[in-house]
Amino acid sequence: MLNDIFIKPFVDMVEAPDFLLQVLWEGLVSGILYALIALGFVLIFRSSRIFNFAQGIMVVFAALTLVGLHEMGVPAWISVGLTLAVMFVLAVTIERVVLRPLVGQPDIILFMATIGITLFLIGFGEIIFGGENKVMITEELGIPTDSVVLEPWGGLLILEQKDITAVVVAALLVGALLLFLNKTRMGRAIRALGDDHQAALSVGISLQTIWVLVWFIAGIIALVTGIAWGARAGVSFALEVIAYKALPVLMLGGLESITGAIIGGLMIGILEKVFEIYWGQPLLGGNTETWFAFVLALIVLLFRPQGLFGEKIIERV
């Protein structure tokens, strides 16, 4: 028993290093995708303390719109542009209809409202796009679909080019976001808004503008995520469940931190895969990925209640 837990997994790792590398790579790629969803969350949370549960469905919605438009015969890149326009309209609508009347309400109420948005979009989306699994227009967008096959130590390592693309794009996106938040006027306003709505209003920061902006950026991130995930698994409403995967990522990294979302995503992606392959499948009957991330995040939070990179909770009386 002890041998199975503490020794054998490591022996396996050393014996098949190419396989270990493959496991790490798969973990890294899922991690990046989790992180992308988490990014959308973080951005909205920072600017409004809204825990935006709808980010998952926005991913599906963006991806479906893209594919749907393309199916109607719109060229790929124009579809991307139109999808962005749709996401902008969505952001404006959400701000008008949902957020504005709920300004200043407790966090949990806003959280509920985003669940309401999620349900609405599921119903709406299914009416428009139907429930069939759709194929992401990967090639049409010029994303390479071949795989790179390496043979380290005489073994086998398969890297898909679209995964590599996803990693690169994610890295660029994160860099851009960090610059935006920390160096620009808007970025500062977004952070201010997260601290104190009322005060932000009082200095003339327009909630409306910022929120539309932020939800639009979240929409862009959703589209990128949707393309990346869709390229792997097709696009359908089943994709919505990946939103849950972003939650532990956020908690682990800290709700307000962009860096946290990235590091948390990678940590969870890689560790859950390694745990599943070397411990979960042989010892626990598999499928541990459903809970591993949550338990990991929980353990980390016990030591750092604000997550690894979250803002310290200022408690004074």
Binding site: Q105, A113, N287, L298
Partner: protein, 358 residues
């Protein structure tokens, strides 16, 4: 001036602390109870029992359990369904291991198991707060559902991995299982829910209730005025999970008749959370209002197109349903963020001063 409270003076603290200090409230409650115990059973059809009455009661109870934790003690939980599952599986194991056991006793005991597990998952709440705490409950949610799937002993090594409620008798009448009559099940559920509601009302208006509310409103201050936060939070987890566990046992034994692990997955948790929030956090009445809305709405929506003779396909109805429920959640949050119970309270306040505007 139907709702006038003037003229009703209280002469002792005891009278002032009576459950319904305002006479009209007591009358209203009497009417509701009469409906629940006499009129519904006499008039309801099988379909009404199965799709409205029984689920509304059970969902109200689950929401009440959650409300203790989230509404009264302020600890956000997204893992309600998993604790319902613990109750259901515990009950299933008890009645299959000890078939002679009285089913109602088994149901009431099954809450004890979920209370235990609830406390275990509540321990992190001493350090982790707010949304971060939700992660602890989500960990419970996903871990427990996984366990229900993997631990074959729980479902008696059944090939399908699902649990089936056996036919159970109490005082010579079938109360659970396929042979049980809906009306009998309704009465069992109603009795248990009524009892639990009374206990909840007492707990929440007494000392423990104040301790919880204090913890919710400002935990630092609560600790500084002498509240042991650990005790306060853990009792909330215990009481809440107990009720939720009982609701879970009722859910499977008195209503569904069978359950597979993913029944207790997160959508059910959200459903219960909707009920608690739409109904009103920190309110007992709200759970019922919320349950009526969330359970009743889809049933009504489903029958509407047919009733008006509009030819809409059933999948379209379902899509519209989801959309409308989503929109209504937002709508109700906007008109009254504190829930239907608060709406009722406002109406009541207006009635009391009616016909004067302020």
């Amino acid at each position: 001036m139907l709702y006038r409270t003037a003229g009703q003076f209280k002469t002792s603290y005891q009278a002032d602390q009576a459950l319904f200090p305002v006479r009209q409230d007591a009358i209203l409650l009497g009417i509701i109870l009469a409906f629940a115990w006499v009129i519904f059973p006499l008039t309801a059809s099988e379909f009404t029992f199965q799709t409205l009455l029984i689920p509304i009661l059970i969902y109200s109870l689950a929401a009440m359990g959650l409300n203790i934790l989230t509404g009264y003690a302020g600890q956000l939980s997204l893992g309600t369904a998993a604790f319902m599952g613990v109750g259901a599986y515990a009950c299933y194991k008890m009645v299959t291991i000890m078939p002679w056991m009285n089913p109602v006793v088994a149901i009431l005991l099954s809450g004890v198991f979920s209370a235990g597990i609830g406390v275990a998952f509540g321990i992190p709440s001493l350090r982790i707060k707010g949304f971060y705490l939700a992660i602890a409950t989500l960990a419970a949610q996903f871990f427990l559902v996984w366990l229900f799937e993997k631990w074959a002993w729980l479902y008696n090594y059944n090939a399908s991995g699902a649990i089936q409620v056996p036919n159970l008798k109490m005082f010579g009448v079938y109360v659970a299982g396929p042979q049980a009559d809906s009306m009998v099940q309704y009465f069992v559920v109603l009795a248990i829910v009524t009892l639990m509601t009374m206990l909840c009302i007492n707990l929440t208006r007494g000392n423990l209730g104040r301790t919880w509310k204090a913890t919710r409103d400002m935990d630092i201050a609560a600790e500084l005025i002498g509240i042991n936060l650990m005790k306060s939070k853990l009792t909330a987890f215990a009481v809440s999970s107990y009720i939720v566990g009982v609701a879970g046992a009722l859910f499977v034994f008195m209503w569904r008749g069978a359950a597979e692990p993913n029944l207790f997955d997160i959508p059910l948790s959200f459903r219960v959370l909707f009920i608690a929030i739409i109904g009103g956090l920190g309110s007992i009445l709200g759970n019922y209002l919320g349950a009526i809305l969330i359970v009743g709405l889809p049933v009504v929506l489903n029958t509407l197109p047919a009733a008006f003779g509009i030819p809409v396909s059933s999948s379209m109805v379902e899509h519209l349903n989801i959309m409308i429920v989503g929109a209504l959640i937002i709508f109700f949050l906007i008109i009254e963020p504190h829930g239907l119970a608060q709406l009722w309270r406002l109406i009541r306040e207006k009635l009391i001063i009616w016909p004067f505007p302020h």
